[in-house]
Chain length 127, copies 2
DNA sequence: GTTAGTAGTTACCCAAAGGAAAGCGGTTAC
DNA sequence: GTAACCGCTTTCCTTTGGGTAACTACTAAC
């Protein structure tokens, strides 16, 4: 299989396919937390509470559930170290790293979007 | 404002900021349909039923709701043409086009991900 | 009048997402 | 013994997302 990406005119042609691709990607990456969790663990492996502290705003229930989902889908591994007490570290797999470009673009866009929202808040103070 | 992107080592440094950016981006782009809708309308402006046919699987209720959300957030405009009967066309704004890089990467990843899922299905036929 | 199409709205319902708080089994510190 | 920390699990709850189907107002064609 060969994939040719025209990076001067991204997505003007080949529309239907990319639509399906995006839908498929979102199927496995949906929700508030999956991409942030992957990003956090790609940056460095972490323990449960470390993740919870870094992300901020995620409950332990949701965190446990999302970690299971990510493990099942091969994005992270759960490593148990036989220390006393037992230490558990979550680590991003190589497959997580295939999302680096997505996360880079999403981060760049998110930063720019925050600026834009701040500006429009200034213009229209509040509803 | 100046943004320097190190494209050789994306995201190894500047971790906390990108995490927040991604969370912010997902705040406005969450759900199954927003990115597919934006993508569809960036490709060409469309009428209600045309969108529904192209996307496939979205109900008119959800489509109407999502279109309102996207219009409120400045991603699309709703144009009413005084034909008989009245014609309504949804059109992507320039702001939608700032998501082109995100969508290109997400589409590329989604296509590759589908291949990977197909392969692992072959190895482990079914649970 | 009936049918069909356009662009939705409304009502009803279910499932999943997500949050708060408590608990649990183990260990370590005091 | 008691308190605290780790890595969760459990319970209860609300919100959101999403689906179905019926229905509306308008127009045009038959």
């Amino acid at each position: 299989m060969k994939i040719t990406v025209d990076d001067t005119l991204p997505g003007i042609a080949e529309c239907a396919g990319s639509l399906k691709n995006v839908v498929d990607a979102l199927y496995v990456l949906n929700g508030k937390w999956k991409l942030p969790l992957i990003l956090s663990l790609v940056q460095s492996s972490k323990r449960f509470n470390e993740i919870q502290n870094e992300i901020g705003g995620i409950s332990s229930k949701i965190l446990a559930k999302e970690l299971k989902h990510l493990e099942l889908n091969d994005f992270i591994t759960r490593n148990v170290y036989p220390t006393t007490p037992v230490t558990i570290r979550y680590e991003a797999t190589d497959y997580s790293r295939t999302l680096q470009n997505v996360m880079r673009e999403l981060s760049a866009w998110g930063g720019q979007h925050r600026e834009k929202v701040k500006q429009s808040m200034r213009k229209q103070p509040q509803v």
